[in-house]
Symmetry: C2
Subunit: 324 residues, 2 copies
């Protein structure tokens, strides 16, 4: 790793705080990565424990490149939950105790540098739009399909935040009003129909009905393996989920008419089996016909997208502060 000595206040920290893993990224400027650390998020231990984890990880990354906290211009955070425009985490469905936690204020207090906090998928959308698969598109939608489904909207080159910072919740578009209950309380959200956990749940239910069923939970990954091996039931589960993904994407296209859709997340690895059939559903009879043609691209930044996007978001906040 490169040494960062002498680059006073020109370092940026990007934190991707997920319910499972946390990535701490240290960059010089926009994207020259100097160091990084991946850790298991203390998701069950409450906000204080997670904050302590973040501070320790930040220190370790800085020490490794021989940098000090004083060299850091700020911290950008992409968080797996609903965040408002003040950087308060309103709720995090898969983490314990995150209810109206003013994360930005807490981290600013503890680090002494400016902090920006946003939703993880929104931050990833920003990064993919500016330096990833979506470079050059002014109107694009980013969708991440993994255990859950998230997203972010870039309109006219800018991240669309909405009135309270919660725009882009593609996973909570209702696509099957009589479908299973989603973690958010609604029924038949895209996330409840087409995410990794939806695929796993559906396969599990089918198996539970089958003779000689196994009781242990199933991972979406297994369902894809069985489908590849020729299992009809597994194939049907995937086809069904894929259809709903297509309907969700079509809704996004009809509402926003983006130039491009960038698809990331673990399930985007199953491009041929899962994403391609969804795109066929999306394109079939999209309102307005060919003129609404949209480019669909796999995400390019991989697991760093959220952390890089959080740094971009932070830099935008710093520019605004400098101006006012």
């Amino acid at each position: 790793m490169a040494s960062a000595r002498g680059s006073a206040r020109r370092l940026f920290l990007g934190l991707d705080v997920g319910a499972t893993k946390t990535l701490v990224l240290l960059t010089q400027g926009r994207q020259r990565v100097l160091g990084q650390q991946l850790l298991t998020t203390a998701a069950r231990d409450g906000p204080e424990a997670v904050v302590q984890q973040l501070l320790s990880a930040i220190d370790r990354v800085l020490v490794r490149v021989e940098a000090r906290r004083q060299d850091v211009a700020g911290v950008g955070v992409g968080f797996a939950g609903w965040c408002d425009l003040q950087g308060t985490v309103l709720a995090a469905p898969n983490m314990t105790g995150w209810r109206s936690v003013p994360l930005r204020a807490i981290l600013e207090e503890l680090t002494g540098v400016p902090v920006a906090v946003g939703n993880d998928a929104n931050m990833a959308a920003l990064a993919e739009a500016r330096m990833g698969a979506g470079r050059g598109f002014r109107d694009l939608v980013y969708v991440t399909v993994s255990t859950g489904i998230g997203g972010g909207i870039v309109a006219g080159g800018r991240l669309l935040m909405g009135a309270s910072g919660m725009a882009g919740e593609i996973g909570h578009l209702v696509v099957a009003p009589d479908g299973p209950r989603c973690g958010c309380g609604s029924h038949g959200c895209l996330e409840a129909m087409a995410s990794g956990s939806a695929i796993a749940r559906e396969a599990h239910q089918r198996l539970a009905l089958a003779p000689g069923s196994r009781a242990s939970p199933i991972a979406a990954q297994e369902v894809f393996e069985w489908a590849r091996a020729g299992d009809r039931g597994a194939q049907e589960v995937i086809t069904r989920a894929s259809r709903f993904l297509g309907i969700g994407l079509r809704n996004v296209v009809n509402l926003l008419n983006p130039q491009a859709i960038v698809i990331g997340g673990g399930l985007s690895q199953q491009w041929k089996e899962y994403v391609e059939p969804a795109l066929q559903v999306m394109r079939a009879a999209a309102s307005g016909g060919d003129e609404r043609e949209v480019q669909v691209l796999p995400a390019a930044l991989g697991e760093r997208s959220t952390a890089l996007g959080a740094i971009l978001w932070l830099q935008r906040v710093l520019r605004h502060t400098a101006r006012s």
Copy 2:
């Protein structure tokens, strides 16, 4: 009507071209209405006939206020169809022969003044945002519910057009994938589930199944009257449509997180019976909880909204042209 003499090039024409009616509005400045004319659109007679209609109506309105074509700074058109960013009408589902008609170019050629063309609901959204119920909100969504369902999105104070001018198609959000076929080719679009024609169709089908059924088509208005008179079947039809409207609105809220939703169109008159129950569905379990609270307002500009919005859109185009 006021005389417009001496106000050279300070008059604006706003045209609302619907499948049933066309409104021609003449204003001074943004919104001082000098004259207007309402006519029945020659929707079955093809684009040439409609264009001739528009030109005659423009002349009549000008003559009535003693103005001349030379006094007109430009013409804004809100059209009931899919329009691209160049002002070409790509398709108009309820009018004959409108397939890739370069309406802006045709009208500029024939009138000799700048013309701007956009989707009627998008234009109405702009007007409601700038001078109607949505004044003061930077992020709002306009929804019009009548025979069909249309909409427009204002994000950060600007009309969101999308990559090819077709953003805002709220009526074509799929809310019931196994529902009836929509005019656009998809199944279970919001328009196919919750519009005036959807209500009429559903009521008609129920009646057709009933003993002693009547064969003649039903208007949505009748269904509301029957419901008010206590007819259980009519009440059920309305409750069902209202639920889907609520799901569609919730999808809009979850994706865009607007500050406000403005609801117009004929069915918005049935606020208590139709819109209120939809808002309950929308608010129940909206992702992110109370922080996503959105104000819902009835449209304020009535039947002039599209024509007034078309003038605003034209003025925006004129400003851009002047700058470049």
